[in-house]
Every structure is written in structure tokens, then in C-alpha cells.
């Protein structure tokens, strides 16, 4: 309770700051009238959203359809679909090395493979963990915190922690040698690196989804379980017939949320692997970052076009999410 008190006191102290704006706002009310005051209250937020979200969406299309290496729009020649055509110029879409932008296609395949494996495995582990946390266990708050803690760590820190563990002289190889196994060069093997990228990402984000699943589990009416106990149903039957069906709407939301996040994965993988070895762990956002900003020649148009492709994928996922949320709402 005492932490609640402290947080509230800090919150209260912060609410003193707006008093400084009092004269200005009183003036605004006199000039504009109180009926227009809602717009005054909304103005800062709308200005920021307009400048840094809505305006950029429009400009992004402009970049995607213009070429050259200049940043300023007036210096960029109109090239129509050229950027998108460059991205999609492939001998065969299933063979990235036959594409003109082979890194882009590798990134697309890597991202897809990563999203499916990471989300699949993470959702299973989250459900398992939530089921355990939902039991009558001693110290539930503590255990919930244990799984949640890595969620708070920054992607850079997550990457460094694991880089330190996985390096050739690291503790993992040390443990392997300890049990008489061969040490492995995790960081320079493409397939091992992909495996670890998935595992590290699950480690870092699982706690968040576990919380959402746990909330879903706790919303299932208790009397259903009491009835099942009276019929002496087996635990597995209870899970398959009660828990899973009633959790499904919640799970759909979790899966789509996790997918939206997974296809945008960048920072933790970028710091851990740099996209390598080779391009084994290069994902779409890294392609956008490197094409637009990191390489010596800044191909803003190509980066913007790749952003459009990513936006398309996210749009599909978002529509799925809306559908999932709606079906989830209908059940309640």
C-alpha cells in the first residue's frame, strides 16, 4: 500500500505544474469563449499527431514514388512505381538471390519465418505460464513479477545480456564444457543465431503476453470449474472443454498483437547480431533503416517503398485484430 501512496503523492505533485499556465489559458477563454475551450485543450496533442504522424504518412507516399538521393521533396524527381517495381523485381519470389533487392527479400522471408515461430512458441509458453500462475500457489504476485521483469529491459540491454552469454568464451559454452560437451560458436552460425534470436525475443516479451492471458483466465467463471469437479472430469478434459474454448477470444487478440510486434522487430536483433551472420537475421525494419539511413547512399525512396510494404502487412494484421476483438466482445 505504501508504494501506492508514494506514487499518488508524486502524481499529485506533478498536477501543480499546470497552474503556471493559468493566466494564458484564462486569456484564451476570454478571447475564444468557453465553448471553444475543448479545442484549446486538444490543440497540443493534435499539433503533435499532425506533425509527426499524419503529415509523415502523406509524405511517405511522396518519397515512395520519387527517386534520387536528395532528402528535400522539391529536389526529388517523380519516378512513379519505380521504387516498388525495384523491390518486386525477382526471377522467382521464392528464391531471394534471384531478386534485384535480394536483401529485401531475405528480410521478408526472415521476418515471416521469425514471426510465425516466435509468436507460435511464445503463445504456447505464455498460456502454460499463465495456467501455472492461475493455480493456488504461494506468492503469486512474486512469481508473476519474475516472468514480467525482462519485459521492462531495453532491447539494447537484452541484446547485450545475451551476447555476453552466447559469445565463444561465454558462460553457455562454459557450462557445455563443464558437462563434457563441445563448445559451439553460437554467434557465427547462421542457423544457431536464428534460433537464439527467437529464444531471446521470447525471453524478453513473454511476460507481457502472459499477463494478458492470465487476465483472460481469471475472467472465466469459477462455477464452471466447480461443476466440472462435481462431474470429476479429468484436468485435461477441463482444459480442452472449458479453459481453451473460453480463452480463445483472448488468445486471438494475443496472437495478433504479438504478430504486429514481431514483424516490426528491429532493435534487440540489430544489437545482438547486426543482421548477421551474412543476412541470416536481417528483418524488414533493419532493411528500411539501412537503406534510408545507415548506408553511404541514402535511398529514401526505396526505404519509403519498403515502409509501404510493411504498412500493408500491418494493415492486414490490424484488420484481423479488429475482427478478433469484435468476436471476443461478442462472447462476453
Amino acid at each position: 500500500m505504501s508504494t501506492h501512496g508514494t506514487a499518488n503523492r508524486v502524481g499529485l505533485a506533478l498536477t501543480r505544474i499546470p497552474g503556471l499556465l493559468e493566466p494564458l489559458m484564462r486569456g484564451a477563454q476570454t478571447v475564444l469563449g468557453s465553448a471553444r475551450m475543448p479545442w484549446v485543450f486538444l490543440a497540443p496533442n493534435l499539433l503533435i499527431f499532425g506533425t509527426f504522424t499524419f503529415l509523415p504518412i502523406v509524405i511517405n507516399f511522396y518519397y515512395a514514388f520519387t527517386g534520387g538521393v536528395k532528402l528535400y521533396p522539391s529536389e526529388r524527381p517523380f519516378t512513379g512505381m519505380e521504387n516498388l517495381a525495384t523491390l518486386f523485381e525477382c526471377g522467382s519470389y521464392f528464391d531471394p538471390s534471384s531478386c534485384r533487392q535480394d536483401i529485401f527479400w531475405r528480410a521478408v522471408f526472415n521476418t515471416g519465418k521469425f514471426a510465425l515461430l516466435q509468436v507460435g512458441l511464445m503463445v504456447v509458453l505464455s498460456v502454460l505460464t499463465a495456467l501455472v500462475l492461475n493455480r493456488k500457489i504461494i506468492g503469486r504476485g512474486f512469481w508473476r513479477g519474475v516472468f514480467f521483469y525482462p519485459v521492462l529491459l531495453s532491447p539494447v540491454v537484452v541484446a547485450l545480456i545475451w551476447k555476453w552469454i552466447l559469445q565463444s568464451q561465454g558462460v553457455l559454452n562454459g557450462l557445455l564444457v563443464g558437462v563434457g560437451a563441445q563448445p559451439t560458436e553460437w554467434l557465427t552460425s547462421a542457423s544457431w543465431m536464428f534460433f537464439w534470436v527467437i529464444l531471446v525475443s521470447i525471453w524478453a516479451h513473454m511476460g507481457f503476453y502472459t499477463l494478458i492471458v492470465l487476465a483472460g483466465l481469471q475472467a472465466i467463471p469459477k462455477d464452471l470449474y466447480d461443476a466440472a469437479e462435481m462431474d470429476s472430469a479429468s484436468p485435461w478434459r477441463v482444459f480442452a472443454r472449458i479453459t481453451l474454448p473460453l480463452l480463445m477470444p483472448n488468445l486471438l487478440v494475443v496472437i495478433v498483437l504479438a504478430m504486429i510486434r514481431a514483424v516490426q522487430t528491429f532493435d534487440e536483433v540489430f544489437v545482438l547480431t547486426g543482421g548477421g551472420p551474412g543476412s541470416a537475421t536481417t528483418f524488414i525494419v533493419q532493411f528500411i533503416y539501412e537503406t534510408g539511413f545507415a548506408h553511404a547512399i541514402h535511398q529514401y525512396g526505396l526505404a519509403a517503398a519498403a515502409s509501404l510494404v510493411l504498412a500493408g502487412a500491418l494493415l492486414v494484421l490490424t484488420l484481423l485484430q479488429l475482427k478478433a476483438t469484435r468476436s471476443g466482445g461478442a462472447d462476453k
Binding site: 499518488n8 499546470p18 489559458m25 484564462r26 521483469y149 521492462l152 533503416y289
Partner: protein, 349 residues
């Protein structure tokens, strides 16, 4: 009641069945997997460079003992040497060629002795290398990075709280034409992650002259749909009668906002403040694009740039990582409940 029965008693049942044992096993393994990696980096950050380069690594910060000898530069490795007369003695290695090492007794630094390296063993000592931390501030511009991170986090969070609560106030306590459209527009920005508008935002920032400025990181971040949504939902529960009574007393709209509604919204503001601190403290991609001068680096950017160097000085990098973890760990330790209820309430992180 014995400790055992106290620990093992369960609600309504008298003993643990096998599913309980499996559950606790799962939790303990989870504890090890979730905290182990972090604990390992904390322990490692207290090791000397010599201890860090040992393989296989030892858990405690132990490594070969080193010492200073008069007339020689730097710290030199210490060995236990078996002398020809059968006695053993602690000696320091000056140099080594092949199987032969030139060693001295630190007490008599002038008498050099030739020792076969098979006749000696390393002296190990437990040494907590606090210099990894203390030297950070002098050796690197660590204070600068720390300040940049703190500045961005604090300023962005304060502005976020102000702007978002103003918008939430307008959306929850007034009825006006276009209200619903504005609300949908703000919530709609949830669907537009920053990753897909990197290039145009770069143009906007450079046009505003905010490239290589901490404000270039702060401004785009201070309007968050999550924050507006969270605060609006909370403000909807505040009765409108309170506001009407204040209007009767000729309070201005701004006074109603900050004297009546804001104090009542304190719990929700606290949740948003925690979220905002963590978002800004952990930000990486956008600062990476906006801040390219090293004196403007945040802690996250500095960590990334050091780990990418050819000769990574892991002892300093590890210490820096641990310092970066401290604020979020404190937030976790004291405010975990706020965060988890906040996530349960809004479904967003």
C-alpha cells in the same frame, strides 16, 4: 505449526498433489531462466579484465592475482613458484620466453630468477573490480550519456502527462461537434507504428532544425494515443456535478482542469508516468536516427556504439549495462503492481 506445513499448506486442501510439485518446479526453472541472465551480467560487471577472459568462466569475480613491483610498470601477474630447494614462494612474472619465465620476489625487486613455467601455479584471488564503475565517468563521457537519457526521459514524461491529460479532459468532460471523430483519429494513430514513417519523420525533424537535438527525440514522442485513452477512461468516472459546481463559482475552464480533474486523476497519471519513463528510457531506433553526434548519445545509443567497436572493453560495457538496468529495476521493484494493473486495464504496453 512447523515451517514445512506452513510452506506446503494450500487453500482448502491438506496436501500437495503431483500437479503442485510440477507447478513449483516450472516456477523455479522460470525464476532461473528469467533472472539468471541478468544476475550473470551483474556478477560479470564486477570482474577484472583478467577474470573476464578466463574460460570456462567462474561464477564469482575471481581471477589471477596481480600486484605492483617497484621499478616496473603496471600490475604484474603473481604465481606460486616451487624453488629448487623444495620450498614454495609467491613471485611475480616480469617476462616470459618459451618455457622460461623471468620472475622476482616483490620484496627483493632486484634479484631476477629464471623459473621453468611447469614449476609454478597461478595465484588466484577474489577481487571485486569496482573500478569498472568508478572509471566510467572519467574514461568515457558517461556522465554526458546519463544526463542525455535522464533529460529526455524526464522532460518527455512531464510534457506527455500535460498534453495527454489536456486532450483526455477535452474528450471526457465536454460535448462538442467533432468529438467522436477526434477520439477515433487519436486512437487510430495506434495503428501507425513509428517504424513505418521513419523517412518522412526524418524530413520533418530536419526541417524543424531538430536533427542532432534532444528535442528531436522528445517532441514526436509526447503525444501518445495510449496515454490519451488511459486518462480519458479514468476521467469518465469523475462525476460532472463537481465541474458544474465549480463553474457556478466562476472557475475558469483551465482551473477546473488542473484544480479539480487532474488531482482526481492522479492514480491514472502515475500509471502513464511509469509507462512513459520506461518508453523513453528504453527508446532506441528513433534516437539512433536523430542523434548522430556522440556527445548527444543516450545510454542506449552509447551501449550500442561501444559493443560495435572492434576492441570492445567488456568490463566497462558490462558496468554501463548494469547502470542502465538500475532505474527499470527500481521501477519494477516498487511499482510492479501499477504496471500490471495498467496493462490489464489498457491492454497496451
Amino acid at each position: 505449526m512447523s515451517v514445512r506445513t506452513y510452506l506446503l499448506r494450500t487453500h482448502g486442501r491438506t496436501r500437495l498433489d503431483w500437479t503442485d510439485w510440477v507447478s513449483y518446479l516450472y516456477l523455479v526453472v522460470g525464476l532461473f531462466l528469467m533472472f539468471g541472465p541478468v544476475l550473470w551480467i551483474v556478477v560479470s560487471s564486477f570482474k577484472t579484465n583478467a577474470a573476464l577472459s578466463e574460460f570456462p568462466p567462474s561464477f564469482l569475480p575471481a581471477g589471477q592475482k596481480t600486484t605492483e613491483v617497484k621499478g616496473h610498470e603496471g600490475r604484474l601477474p603473481v604465481f606460486v613458484v616451487k624453488l629448487p630447494d623444495g620450498t614454495t614462494k609467491e613471485m611475480v612474472e616480469l617476462r616470459r620466453i618459451g618455457l622460461n619465465a623471468t620472475m622476482v620476489d616483490p620484496a627483493k625487486p632486484d634479484e631476477e630468477v629464471q623459473v621453468n613455467i611447469n614449476d609454478r601455479t597461478k595465484t588466484r584471488e577474489l577481487r571485486v573490480a569496482t573500478e569498472n564503475y568508478t572509471q566510467l565517468f572519467g574514461k568515457f563521457s558517461f556522465g554526458r550519456y546519463l544526463w542525455n537519457s535522464v533529460f529526455i526521459t524526464v522532460v518527455a514524461t512531464l510534457i506527455t502527462l500535460l498534453f495527454n491529460s489536456m486532450a483526455a479532459f477535452a474528450l471526457s468532460k465536454y460535448k462538442f461537434a467533432g468529438q467522436k471523430a477526434v477520439f477515433l483519429l487519436i486512437i487510430g494513430t495506434l495503428m501507425i507504428p513509428p517504424t513505418i514513417i521513419l523517412v518522412p519523420n526524418f524530413l520533418v525533424i530536419s526541417n524543424l532544425g531538430l536533427l542532432n537535438s534532444l528535442w528531436g527525440v522528445i517532441w514526436p514522442a509526447v503525444a501518445t494515443p495510449t496515454g490519451v485513452f488511459l486518462l480519458r477512461q479514468y476521467m469518465l468516472t469523475i462525476p460532472d456535478e463537481l465541474l458544474d459546481a465549480a463553474r457556478m463559482d466562476h472557475a475558469s475552464e483551465w482551473q477546473i482542469y488542473w484544480r479539480i480533474v487532474l488531482p482526481l486523476t492522479a492514480p491514472a497519471l502515475a500509471v502513464l508516468a511509469i509507462f512513459s519513463v520506461m518508453w523513453r528510457w528504453n527508446d532506441f531506433l528513433w534516437p539512433l536516427i536523430v542523434l548522430s553526434k556522440s556527445e548527444l548519445f543516450t545510454l542506449q545509443l552509447a551501449l550500442n556504439s561501444f559493443q560495435g567497436e572492434l576492441q570492445t572493453e567488456w568490463n566497462y560495457l558490462l558496468a554501463m549495462t548494469v547502470i542502465t538496468i538500475i532505474p527499470v529495476t527500481l521501477v519494477f521493484a516498487f511499482l510492479q503492481k501499477h504496471i500490471t494493473t495498467g496493462i490489464a486495464a489498457s491492454g497496451v504496453k
